[in-house]
Amino acid sequence: MRSFFHSITFRFWIPFAILPVVILSIVAYYYPQEQKRMLVERKKQALREAAQTVALGVELSVDFEDLNGVKKTIEFSKNNSDFNFVGVIIRDSITRTEQLLATFPEGKSFKEVSQVDSSLFIFEDFSFNSKYFSGYIRVAEEIKKIDEEVKRINKPVYLFILIAFPFFLMLLLLISRTLTRPVLRLTNLVKQAKLDILEHTIPQSKSKSEIGELQNVFAELSETIRQKNKENEAILNNQELLVKARTLELEQAREKLIISQRRAKLGHYEVDLTNGLWESSQTLDEILGISTDFPKTRTGMEKLIVAEFRDEVLPFFNADNTDRLLEKEIQLFNQKTGSSFWAKLIGEKKEGAAGKKNMVTGIIQNISEQKKYQEEIQRLSYVAAYTSNCVIIADKTKKILWVNDSLLKLTGYKQEEIIGKTPAMFQFEKTDRNTINYINSKLANHEIISKIEILNRGKNGNEYWLELNIVPILSVKKEVTGYIAVETDITLRKQYEEGLRSINKDLEKKVQEGVEANTRLSRAVNDYEKMAAIGEMAAGVAHDLNTPMSTIMVGAETLQHVLDQIFEEDISRISDDEWQAIREVARNIKPESFVTGTQLRNEKKEMLVYLNEQQTGRTDESLKKLSDLFVKCRILVGKENVLIEKLLGFKNVERMLRMIEHIQTVNTITSTINSSVGKSTSVIKNLRSYIKNEDAEQWQQIHLYENISSVLNMFGYSLQESHHISVAIEAQLKIEGSEIKLFQLWSNLIKNAIEALKDQEDKQISIYTTQKEGKIIVCFENNGPVIPAGDLDKIFKLFYSTKEKQGGSGLGLSIVKRIVLEHRGSIEVISTPGKTSFNICFPAPRN
């Protein structure tokens, strides 16, 4: 397709084709417009005539009062396709106002026709003037209809153009092809000859026309070219191969060069001294950090060089400078990063035209890394040379290559005495063989040796301790090329260490002794604590034991007395029946301990009256004795009448009653002794279990009320009448803990309170419990003297006591604190004048 547009046929065809296109375009544009104009003109004429006809019809109809004329007019209008609106407008002769009387078709707006855009309608008016009224007739037609008419008329024209246009183009194309055929044929022949020179040839023409002559010339030329081509082809083939190979080599070389330059951070430049303009390689641009828009002028060059080096470098690039070579280490700016770097600048002037040195070529290499290493090496060499540590550099056979002054100073050798020898020269019989073997094995494995201590000897026989750090120097192939040893003189440290070791031994011994002493003290304190607690308990225990023991003792004496009385009676004179009755009565009737004297007297009176009524025939004296005995034995009138009568039936009733009284007394005393023995056993059992700590591990739920009550009972002997004790403990409250330890806790707090109140007349102690946020708080309050604020945090400390002179051990509250903590609780003391409160907070027991 593209070749067609470039062909001679196309070029011929174009002018031919343009002409009909232009003509047809003009026709297609102007013809419809002209058609429309003519149609409008014609339509206006028709409208004018129609308006005239209608106006005449109306005028005549009105004048002759025969509206048939109007009917005819309407029929005329209806049949006339030239217009689609007709209106009668009456004009008032006086006011000149207009009134639309009627329109046809009916309902069409007169206003619409007269006031709307005239481009949509065309209309014509014609006046009438009848005898009754005058006005005018307006006839109108929509432009749209005219446009439709124009379209209808133009349709065949457009169709003709549409069909004719491609036909014309094709026709013209054929004409063009015919005209250009000889030229094309010749062109094709030449092309074929060019493509395949051996098989196609341009035939000689016999025509004498211009085309024929041209063909002949081409035929000859073609032949010549064919021969030349053959020759050139061979040469070209060789050349092409050579060029390709060379190009490849050059490309590779160029890439290698760029890579090498990048690695070496080296790039080249060229400066034209006549105008100061310069060029640089891609690698140099990268080194300098410059982009393509950087000005490669003398100003740009100045911008690249750090100010202090400009005077050294820039004169060389002046045109009149006679120096041939420049080689300097300078600092340049990297334009991208803005930082400076060290670079090596080399430049050489070249001969230009007329023998002038007007060109400089050279290289710039970034040597920052080398500089850094150089400086680093310099610093390291300073360190090695002047450090207080000894430094030895040896080759791979451990022969010493270099030592620093510190080593010479330490050993007393001179440099030349050491160089070429191995470090074994410093070792002697005291040097530890194991250490030497260890060093050798490590070095054999190319491993680093660090902090190895070794004893060496100097030239003058001075022994010294060294701490060795040896690093093998490895080549790129990981082969050992030598060693660097850094040795610290630790002789002094060793001496100190020896001294310290001896001191440590003494200290250890002292510490051991101290620990033992502390352990003993600790045990003593523990025992003391326990003894103190036992002491507290013992006082209570003594009280508890004292009462029952006294009871037992009194009981025993009474028993002795009763027994004496029983044996004073003539027991042998009591019959079996009488014994039976005595035992029965003594078993069933218990004596009452507390009966008032009045009651006894009344009971005896009643008994005497009763006995008199029985008419036993006894004397008054005898009856009186009997009544006394009955009442003593609690055999009373009204209660035991049957028993009384039964007893009165016995001959020796008096003796029997005495025996009953004795036996009742014995029963009472034995019962009391039993009870006292039980109490004593219980007290002793509790004391024993505490002393042996039998229940120490028993962690159980403890009833607070019972636990605290038992303590209060224990302290009963210490509490005087002046102590007002109020206890308000919720009966159901329980806490988890050890009964014995809690016992100890409360007893210490109560004892503390009793001691605090010792010198007061009014002694108040109140113990109560509260619950807050799921915790149980037990408060021990007393109205004792206030505890000074400074002492509040000391009172729980071990052996802290404010009553040392009164025998305080300083243990009580420390025990309290310990027990509270053991029970996962806390204790606080609030002391204000008139009230000191110990609030102990326990966690509520788990369900």
Binding site: V58, S61, V62, E65, D66, L67, N68, V70, K71, T73, I74, K78, V88, I90, L101, A102, T103, F104, E106, Y132, F133
Partner: protein
């Protein structure tokens, strides 16, 4: 629109070609002379309205009674109606006698005259209005 004026109704009479064109309802009589019927509803015959021309002596009376306007306005009314093709044109005659004669000879015709001119007409063709 025009309406019949009750005050002058007794002064006019309607003459018809045939009995039964109209049923005497005022609305129907009104409709006839306003050109609402092109055919009689009863007979389906074509209607012909006959009215006095401007030369007729009763023209002013009739136009004022029936059309409540001048003769000129009556003419304009009918011109408008006819021009719009809504009805056939009425016949305008120069005297009541001509009207009577035309009505009586023209089938489907109906006209209006001055009441005083009715004497020549058989009552069966007349339609009179009582005040």
């Amino acid at each position: 629109m025009f309406t019949f004026g009750q005050t002058a109704f007794k002064d006019i009479a309607v003459v018809q070609n045939q009995t039964g064109f109209i049923n005497g309802r005022l609305k129907d009589v009104q409709g006839v002379f306003l050109g609402k019927y092109s055919r009689w509803p009863a007979t389906k015959e074509q209607t012909t309205i006959v009215l006095p021309s401007s030369k007729c002596a009763s023209a002013t009376l009739i136009s004022s009674v029936i059309y409540k306007s001048s003769v000129k306005e009556m003419q304009k009314y009918w011109l408008s109606l006819v021009f719009q093709g809504r009805t056939s044109p009425p016949v305008f005659l120069d005297s009541d006698a001509e009207i009577i004669a035309y009505v009586l000879k023209t089938p489907g015709a109906i006209g209006v005259i001055a009441a005083e001119s009715r004497k020549t007409v058989d009552n069966k063709y007349l339609f009179l209005f009582v005040e």
